[in-house]
Amino acid sequence: MSQRDSTQGPGGALPVSSRVRIQSGSLPHPAGTVAGNGAARRELGLESVFEVSDVSVFYGAKKALSGVSLRIPRSRITALIGPSGCGKSTFIRSLNRMNDSVPAFRLEGQVLYHGHDLYASNVDEVEVRRRIGMVFQKPNPFPKSIYDNIAWALRNLGLKHDLDDRVERALRAAALWDEVKDRLKSSALGLSGGQQQRLCIARAIAIEPDVLLLDEPASALDPIATASIEDLMHSLKGRFTIVIVTHNMQQAARVADRTAFFGLDASSGEPAGTLIEYADTETIFNRPADPRTRDYVTGRFG
């Protein structure tokens, strides 16, 4: 896989570029690129952001995810649904390498992001996450002021000019501005759960990522807060590619363009999560091809 070039020392040392911070705008291309998938990328009629082929994930000896292949289209909302413990979170966390910090994590297969191998040896995971943001199940604002929650990452990434402006735009985009504009300097921990989660979304979009991964963003929220998060997703669609994990099927039906149904597959020995069906949301909910999908979306899952 690794590209051999003149910068490589005789001792087989890593290319110099593998450790330095990559400038925004281009992942280092040669190592990860796989030729010949340009045509496949247009199969959906849409450009793909992620092309996942035959990905399996292991935690130590335990297989958590088995043989997942799918394409995630650009500027659309893709929902991942399915019962607990079938690898949805594992999968979404593999899309921005959040699993790297999990001990004994191992991934087989390939994840292409705009054609670049996300797990190539010269890819810097900090740069990956700078472009592929993530919002977690439980709101996790920093114990800082509302303003600093958003400004902190901006400052660290060198986006210092027009800081006030950027913060305001992010808060407006997350439909939170009117509620907090008079108390930007007060602690973010004083916000309600729904407001905190919208703040986390504002924080994630402030750095203008390419993709937004949402791991059950509304599961800890009440129905009203959930509705506002869903409205938010609709308004963000088009600006970002969004991937959302949800337990709530109505939510997937309401917000997503494409839906992937994950389930447990015990065919090869011990059960592991796998992708069962992936199609337009309308198809998944009205004309699912797989009986397991039909049982799940109609509530007959055993």
Partner: protein
Amino acid sequence: MTEVAFDPAAPLTPTGNLRRRRMFSRVAELGATGAALFAVAVLAIVIYTVVSRGASALSFEFLVTGAPTGIAPAIVGTALIVALATAMAMPVGVLAAIFVTEFAGNRVSRGSKLTLDLINGLPSIIIGLFVFGLLVNHHTQSGFAASVALAIIMLPLIARGAQEVLLLVPNSLREAADALGVARWRTVLGVTLPSALGGILTSTVLAVARAAGETAPLILLCSVFDPRHMDLNVTEAIPNIPVRIFQLSEEANPEGFAQAWGMSLVLVSFILFASLGARAMHARSRRKMTS
């Protein structure tokens, strides 16, 4: 299996060997309570003795003049030595804690924790001897040598205390920072350390309280001084409280005994207030972080 061992309809009074088991548990409970009371009594008796014997020596003059009437040089000297030791131990201790909690893998982190615990278990006289060989032998005693020894004693206390609070910082905050594409070190500076600051200060104060009374290494490293005058030059031996207490107790001089008790009272009060204050601070920052 089908037969029930007791009659469910019988009155709910002790049956079988329950009486004996109850007696045994009563005795065990009494023993444990007694032991705990004894530990409290030891502290109370020590404090009572120090206060009752030391209080009479205390006066404004005692605190602000040099020997033979007062102990001001020793107070200043101890403050200086401990401050210097803190300046050495705190950065190293905090960085070591950050390494263990934020960067090290599982195995390395267990190794470093064990190392710190072993340093913590080293007898202070051994540390004194080591620093004596390193800095005093062929040179002279110095306040600096004393600071180095105290820094070695403080290091594991600060590092382990800081580790404990860094581990309390929720992982979700690290994940949040990771997900924003911020490098790990920036996360440590911007998110993790500020959250843990209260706890780190607490463990530092506890370490200061411990080091302030440490005597054995100072007898080797910083004991030939003139107790009459202030001395701020740490390249030579400077007056300090623990060694001065030791010296005065050795002399056949009743006034010296009284002064030694007075100094003990000053030292014990400082240590008690520092420890209690630090623990109160710790409880507060813990509540703030876990709520």
